[in-house]
Symmetry: D2
Subunit: 238 residues, 4 copies
């Protein structure tokens, strides 16, 4: 059984009436909810838990970590970020959501600024599947309409994804690479754009389908750990 840890900053839902109304149990609550329906073993963690809820023990038993953060990226301790990074490189999956593009962990794994354009004017978004044969697109319609969304626009300053699965269209005239797959170390990373705290995007079934697929895709392959360092004896002797 796949163990998923749903991480959420969990600040804006406590501070902002609009966000609380949309996500009364927090964004993590909404995500955990639909993932539990898929028979994952789901736990949640937030920034204000000890060690942000991401202890060595928790990470060791996590197959896939999902990450939503926004205003408090800088408060996440560098030590915990490094711990998460090591776990990803060792094979833990990571699904980074929406404003998580600016999280320390995503920027650290990408090596770039991860910057983008944005505008929060409740615009219509259409998310087009550009790679329909990819497992993360399974059961997802050709395009998903999100009635109201915060716009994210290109240039998105990330390494070119290993696979680009989705691209978004926005009412105001921008486009965005919305679904990006990366392999780093033995781990898999999926960045998925949709999901702002004041729009009910994570309550939308097609969005839930994508996140569910992403968790399945990102799950740790039971890989043979490579050895590193000095190899005094060559495989070819003599």
């Amino acid at each position: 059984m796949t163990t998923v840890t749903v991480w959420n900053e969990y600040r804006v839902e406590k501070e902002d009436d609009e966000a609380r109304e949309v996500y009364p149990e927090g964004i993590h609550g909404a995500i955990a909810d639909f993932l539990e329906d898929e028979e994952f073993d789901v736990q949640t963690a937030t920034i204000d838990d000890p060690e942000h809820g991401l202890t060595e023990e928790t990470l060791n038993e996590t197959d896939v970590l999902t990450w939503w953060g926004h205003e408090a990226h800088e408060e996440v301790a560098d030590e915990v970020v490094e711990r998460v990074r090591q776990q990803v490189l060792s094979g833990m999956g990571l699904v980074v959501l929406h404003s998580g593009h600016f999280s320390k962990i995503f920027k650290r794994l990408m090596g770039t600024t991860c910057d983008l354009k944005w505008r929060n004017e409740a615009e219509r978004e259409r998310i087009w599947t550009v790679e329909p044969g990819h497992p993360i697109a399974e059961g997802v319609p050709e395009s998903i309409e999100v009635p109201e969304a915060e716009m994210y626009g290109e240039r998105f300053d990330v390494p070119a994804p290993d696979t680009l699965v989705f691209t978004s269209w926005f009412e105001g005239g921008e486009v965005f690479r919305s679904g990006c797959c990366y392999r780093r170390g033995a781990g898999r990373i999926f960045y998925f754009r949709p999901g702002h705290e004041t729009y009910p995007i994570y309550h939308q079934s097609e969005i839930q389908q994508v996140v569910t697929n992403a968790v399945e895709w990102a799950e740790n392959v039971n890989s043979t750990s490579p050895s590193f360092g000095n190899v005094p004896e060559p495989p070819e002797e003599g």
Copy 2:
């Protein structure tokens, strides 16, 4: 000096008043015109020339071939297609434009259907640069607005490009991977979406800039031809 052969089907501009008005010298005439300004050595060829203007001799002296075709793809002789393909694999650059996505040569080199969605309703297109550090984006603004265009929409059934440089937004709600780089054999291929016969898109300076950059990028590297076949003597003897 780079030798460019601008190939055009050159049918619709003779048959259709609207197209003739926009491209009185043919689409190839318009493209040759702005490429000559860049000090390339430019020649043109069309479907009704003997061997479609693509003799062995012509191809041998061509560094980069640009391709525009639409309604007569099936009339291009398989033998000539194969000749062009061999030349690309040996290092000749190929810039495929707009409806050329359905040309025999592009489909043959891609291996896929190269199908897409389309709608010809004079929609506004915005072409966003997603890879600003790429040579084909040099001097190109962050986005190019095309006032009236035929829409091409995803799923574009091609192999994922080696590099995706541009993505288009359309007024009607679609997106499209508009600028796609491929390496095949020793040759480079660039597919660039814009350019319909009844819109003055190839008269637009930003579009001309992209095509010019693409020709420069696609030019043959003076590469060492690999040897193939049986190698009876191993490099390591003994």
Copy 3:
């Protein structure tokens, strides 16, 4: 349950004593054998079956097709090659083995010559895992030693793989990209180098593990088929 069709030319094992001794039931027999142990639903087909055993009906029920051919590539009917290609583009998986690099179907899907260097001198091969987190590397050691193999050497004239999983070392001094993943249309293709008719390579358990993993990886995702062609009504209706 995954249905696998194991295709084999099945000529050399009938003509050559050495090959028959190593693969008395044919190469397809050996491959079918270990795939059946993995609880796939396995059937075989050979070049001398009617329609090469690849009827529309057979392909429609096939999730993954494996392909081994060598001396009779040219005898495979173009019509059947096109039928297989359409099936791959629609989502059927394809695992191309060893000398299948020169099969019509692989060359057609790649668009390139698929040429390479070779030498058949029973050299030692070491297949190194370069992407240990990939599902095709699951349970596979860091390197597989093949005691005697036909050498294939770079330049391997294929499009750069979407993912490179294995690279081979040869005693005589060459290297080769041995495990190459491609996505074409809705289908997945894996090329795996090892396996010559006169060496017992498909009897080796690590090789069997890779082929088994490849079949699982290549299996059809239950994807939403994109629609193509004219879209008269834009998603955005103004």
Copy 4:
């Protein structure tokens, strides 16, 4: 004219007789020497220069930075590493050489451990060109023989390169992805494996050719800087 800054740790050549004999002017001296012959504008910098020779001013006028370091990676100040990283993301080219795989700047830009296997036993290395049409392979033979080299072996824990140009074979039985291209931000990065302090590898003309090509390839494209952040006015108004 392209300005190249050749950075070298410059410790081992002062401490170790063998290294000093091979590189009496330091490794940077040898590299600067052959780059000057190519009519680049070349300057050098070493770890013991103030700010490691990498002041804001120096970096601003640098088109391409080459990096060789080994035992003192940890002594490079984080502030300087971050300065270099920002410059790369803004378009400066970076050519990382041999043991530079473990430099702070390379690890920071890759996001992974950049670990590998190694053995220093003066083994023969053959560097095979796998992408002969790439500009970095221009004028380079199909394979380069390095008579004596330190072995680096896979798994090389880096993100899959955007383009893999070279792969190495080693006498002792290992392989290695020796020439790896990356695009990060607006900048280009090339990792090139060969070059140990006690072997005259940078005196070998084919190796010099590769480094020269890499510098040319990595040079800053005169790109349009994307804008980031809030875009209050949508491109589509009304």
